[in-house]
């Protein structure tokens, strides 16, 4: 049991990927760790930018949806 605990702790303490030979730099890690949320958030904004623009223009600013209304008007004529 004791040996098992020692081994388990060793796994936690040692770096997990044995292949990362490069010293990443503690400062570099800290910057990334502190801003992980910001980077992630900005990335999601970029990915969903189309959706965000649509939401803002229709729901928040109350603009009409342009192309669907026009085509239905034409159909009615």
């Amino acid at each position: 049991m004791f040996m098992f605990l020692v081994l388990a702790l060793t796994v936690l303490v040692l770096p997990h990927d044995a292949h990362a030979y490069l010293d990443p730099g503690t400062g570099s890690y800290l910057i990334q760790a502190l801003l992980a949320g910001l980077f992630g958030g900005l990335y999601l904004v970029r990915v969903f930018w189309g959706n965000i623009k649509y939401f803002v223009s229709t729901k928040l600013l109350g603009k009409k949806q342009p192309s669907n209304d026009e085509s239905s008007d034409i159909d009615k004529q």
Partner: protein, 463 residues
């Protein structure tokens, strides 16, 4: 973690840092051995389709797996790959701005593709990129490891090798790229950021990736948090980081290079007929010879390299002016794939640097030409650089067996510019003295006067 280096025989001297594998040579072929400890990551790179995708996109140097039983360098081998050969190895301090920017761009592009396949780059060294046929290619196929939601190990290296030099060129001076020669792991963040102007502190992305990054590195240099716990950095955060870096890199530009880009199209030393005559002479000499590899020294933006390329296998376009090299690389490199551009100063060529002074070899060790073409150069060397005719002749004879060199007489307008009123001091600068000096090392094959000018093109063979 073991570092299995059982033997240094036939190994590429610079390939030693990454225990995953290394480069070695055998029968004039280039191989990469993947060591056993890299097996898991390597298999994933293959089975996930990452390698296939990178090869299909032509982002990585082509390679094929060979029999490990037959080709392994030592017992630590898991797999061995034969790599396509890079015609001329060049280093980041020999690249122009556009070349460095392109190398940065593909490094980030490759990281994005790696993330699509559950992997990430372990390192982001500029030495992982080479230029082949006018395009950057990634050469370190063992640079990939599985992505485990931790911060990018290569972030510091990317900033030092790519972002900081590019920003220094863009915001300060193009010559600062030469700092890479003295700092083998890229320009140190703390040093390089001190040289940046205040206005770079107004751009939040540069503040983050360079200034704050430098401060954080300095403040935490003695701390060791990573061996205890690795902060969580999920896929979106990683993609966001890469997107941020891509954004800055693509937005960086070198204003002088752009403004002067067209200068070379319009500047000529003589009338059109004489210029065409010079091209005709160079072409005539090259056509009659069976040259494989030719240096076009002080080749400017490559006008004569293009003439040479019609008759020889490979041309190295070498010029001290990064603007000229940038112009060629940006406008002509992809259509003239046998011409390799580099920034090069004959009075101070790239030395051998790094570990043992062999890790990054001197330029003369990397390229041995069949012929050197030195047009519109001699007056710069002898008058501006105060090199005796004999010194120039001696060096050129040591570098190549054949030489095509243009003598620019003292009364030529370009020679007059560098003489700059010091006629007495350069009274020795005559065609007769030129011929005497070169006769000590070369046999004259032919001399062609360029009609409409007072210049002569000599074709020499080493005695």
């Amino acid at each position: 973690m073991t570092n299995p280096q059982t033997s240094t025989n036939n190994r590429e001297v610079s390939s030693f840092r990454d225990p995953s594998g290394f480069v070695f040579f055998n029968n004039e072929e280039v191989y990469r051995q993947a060591n056993n400890l890299y097996a898991d990551d390597l298999d994933h790179a293959i089975t996930s389709g990452l390698f296939a995708k990178l090869l299909e996109q032509k982002l990585i140097l082509p390679f094929e797996e060979v029999s490990v039983e037959e080709f392994a360098h030592d017992d630590a081998a898991y797999k061995v790959f034969r790599m396509e050969k890079v015609p001329l190895i060049t280093y980041p301090y020999e690249w122009s701005f556009a070349m460095l920017k392109d190398a940065a761009r593909i490094t980030l592009e490759i990281q994005e593709i790696a993330l699509d396949h559950g992997m990430t780059l372990k390192d982001a060294s500029a030495y992982n990129v080479q230029f082949v046929e006018g395009r950057p290619v990634f050469i370190d196929i063992f640079s990939f490891e599985k992505f485990t939601e931790t911060p990018w190990d290569a972030y510091r290296q990317f900033c030092q090798h790519f972002l900081l030099p590019l920003t220094l060129i863009s915001k300060v001076d193009v010559r600062l790229n030469l700092l890479s020669k003295d700092f083998v792991d890229g320009i140190p963040l703390e040093l390089g950021t001190k040289l940046l102007p205040f206005r770079t502190k107004l751009d939040p992305r540069l503040v983050l990736h360079l200034h704050a990054h430098a401060v954080s590195q300095k403040r935490n240099a003695q701390k060791n948090i990573t061996s205890v716990t690795k902060p969580k950095f999920d896929l979106n955060a990683m993609r966001g980081l890469i997107a941020s870096l891509s954004g800055i890199v693509s937005g960086l530009c070198w204003k002088e290079g752009t403004e002067w880009g067209d200068y070379y199209e319009n500047t000529k030393n003589y009338d059109d007929a004489s210029f065409d005559e010079k091209k005709r002479i160079v072409g005539e000499i090259a056509r009659a010879r069976d040259w494989k590899n030719v240096w076009d020294l002080a080749g400017n933006s490559g006008v004569f390299s293009k003439v040479l390329a019609e008759h020889v296998d490979r041309v190295v376009l070498m010029d001290i002016d990064p603007m000229a090299i940038d112009h060629f690389y940006t406008h002509d490199a992809k259509d003239n794939t046998s011409i390799q551009p580099i920034v090069f100063d004959l009075t101070n060529p790239s030395p051998a640097i790094g570990w043992g002074n062999v890790e990054r070899s001197s330029f003369f060790d990397r390229s041995q030409p069949d012929a050197i073409v030195a047009l519109a150069l001699i007056h710069h060397l002898v008058i501006k650089e105060n090199l005796p005719f004999l010194y120039v002749a001696k060096l050129l004879s040591e570098l190549s067996t054949e030489l095509v060199i243009e003598f620019v007489p003292a009364h030529d307008s370009n020679a007059q510019k560098v003489i700059n009123g010091r006629d007495e001091q350069f009274a020795f600068y005559t065609q007769e003295n030129f011929e005497k000096a070169f006769a000590q090392y070369f046999d004259k094959q032919n001399a062609y006067t360029i009609e409409g000018t007072a210049r002569t093109i000599y074709h020499y063979k080493r005695s």
